[in-house]
Symmetry: C2
Subunit: 435 residues, 2 copies
Amino acid sequence: MFKEFQNLINQSYPNLYKQRTLIAVSGGIDSMVLLHLMHKANLNLAVAHCNFTLRGEESDAEEIFVKETVADYDYEFFVERFPTQSYAAEKGLNTQLAARELRYAWFNHLAELHNFDHIAVAHHANDKIETFLINLSRGTGIDGLSGIPEKNQKIIRPLLPFSRAQITAYAKENNIDWKEDSSNSSDKYIRNKIRHHIVPILEELHPNFLNNFLQTQEFLSDTSQIVAKQVEELKSILFIKEDGLIKIPVQQLKVLHPLRTYLYELFKDYNFTNWDDIGHLLDAMSGKAVYSKTHELSKDRSFLILRKIPLKLNTEFIYEKLSETIHDPIHLNVTKVTEIEEKDANTIYVDAEKLNLPLIVRKWHTGDYFHPFGMKGKKKVSKFFKDEKFSLPEKETQWILLSQDQIVWIIGKRADQRFAVSPKTTSILKIQLQP
Amino acid sequence: MFKEFQNLINQSYPNLYKQRTLIAVSGGIDSMVLLHLMHKANLNLAVAHCNFTLRGEESDAEEIFVKETVADYDYEFFVERFPTQSYAAEKGLNTQLAARELRYAWFNHLAELHNFDHIAVAHHANDKIETFLINLSRGTGIDGLSGIPEKNQKIIRPLLPFSRAQITAYAKENNIDWKEDSSNSSDKYIRNKIRHHIVPILEELHPNFLNNFLQTQEFLSDTSQIVAKQVEELKSILFIKEDGLIKIPVQQLKVLHPLRTYLYELFKDYNFTNWDDIGHLLDAMSGKAVYSKTHELSKDRSFLILRKIPLKLNTEFIYEKLSETIHDPIHLNVTKVTEIEEKDANTIYVDAEKLNLPLIVRKWHTGDYFHPFGMKGKKKVSKFFKDEKFSLPEKETQWILLSQDQIVWIIGKRADQRFAVSPKTTSILKIQLQP
């Protein structure tokens, strides 16, 4: 298997040899094999391990196991303990989804901070069939059946062409140790059902099932690309941009066939999912509208009008990366610097290591407090506003920058002490409000 | 369920009320329920039952069961006993495929002969998921995942929107009797595995699995239509028709992306299935060619040349219907007549009931014999040629018409006695060689 892995790297990821890769290692068989293969391929690596603190001692034992393995390899090691349950409860997510959000936000944060070019995760071919069948059971379109991408921004999945059987055999041959995750979360449960009960029967139906499936999925993925290209061409004809909104002639939509699939494809990028509603809109009276979480689509005589939903006071602008620029609702430049430069009300310097993603920009909420820079202890934002003699309109137009739920900056007014640069700081971010 | 069935007929098959439908009834629960529903809907019906003689007494008991049920309903009844095993052995097919060929050929034959407008078969929603998973295990493209068509020429499938659970419930409520097919053929075996072991788990994963799946399949079917339309447009641009062949500029093929899926879609109607071979042809030297069972695709400098494979001496031209016209390799008009009209060497009259599909036109094979019209007993074709003083080129250019493996006509020379019109004949076909 190593030879095939090496061929894959040479063909699909030739840059890996000169660039830096962060591998996500849970301690399970897949990621331990990935680590072994990438190490053997002599790549420039570091390892990240998420401790989701979901299984008490077992989680901690995994953390120690990975840490010790990585020490043997002598790679840089990052570990983070996440309060997954409380994050999930707070966000109204199931545990799996919460863990995924936390994991990828942290990986991207590490990659930004330490200049990793790639983040390698250990998905393999059997994950594709499992995802395919889960999506099939929930209902999906061709996109949901077209597989897991090999590359997606910084994320790479070099085990994707290999089956679980190949990975297991490689682990055995190379005496690779791993920890079996005992978790029985709903997602694991579903995947185990598919793995143990459905896939073996499909393999009975056709001994070459997995390969046939993978080829089928490549066909679907190609077909989906063909459709996407056609839909883009169609958009360039039908979507007329005008003053920050888009006008679409209803008559030209009506002649599309099959209509509902065209409507789905044309509007999915604007977060619309219900083609029926859009279908009804074609024949509705002027003034009728349907909404996605980000957009409004309304009927105006012979046109549909597509526009972003105007801001509401309680809107949060969420940034999942330590990005160069925050552009909505205000413009903040975020740059890495080696030392503190000029200081003014529109600039702060923070310790990048102390920030947690996502960064959020929003208005003030009742109950908000922060640790004003240069002071000991915390202060309610409402008290700060009062002390600073803010008028009501001033309060309502004041933007606040947060790191997860902690205030980093009453923007343009006062920074927070908790994120301040200290003698121990190794990575400084300069955040500057642009006029 | 009857109300939904009636709505479906009104919406999708409104012509059924004034036209004639032949229902295929095996005696199993699905076809017995279909018969009950179509009877209750007051349609103009007749029933066909295939006895595939695969399960001895059980097969015969089913035949009698269906015959008696149909007698109660007072519908016209057709039954045919097929030597399925020997047909399968002869054609090198598995039993299921052989039975399917025989069944549909006979249904179409009956429909032509007795002027049925539709042939109703009892496929239902669960058949769709089974077919989907079988095709998935064997490898397929989007077409193989897009479902079973509701209409296909004369075949209609009015149970397709209904689930097995609905059909079973309807049979119970209406005290419908049926015969359980004990057969354990490979196809049944596969379908049973899927039915009993895979689908229940998928239903555990999502209680609304079947509906979600059906909706997904409709999406795939729509997507497939979008691609088909685009490929037709592409063909109208790229495929240049010239003197019975098609020229396709190689450069314009090469820029297509994703290439292999475009190549597959562009050439599938010409029976090419291996896009890799076609892909290699794009860069091959002039003169290289690849073949499907019907077509040759060759490289000629900057073009691919697509043409029908020229006739070989052993080519058989197969006609699956009692069609109006046979056009290859010679032109035979086939028309229904009520009595024998003019007679000449280029015209014969046959008893349509005695013909079996497929009709075949081919050259003479060593060992062929027939029953010359007006004679008692059979004669070797080679002996006939000798007696008629055929030259070698005359033997080699002589075409013969067969009904399955029986000679109907040494075309333009002598008819066969076995298919001759007799006083009992109720349906006469006139077959006339066009110059």
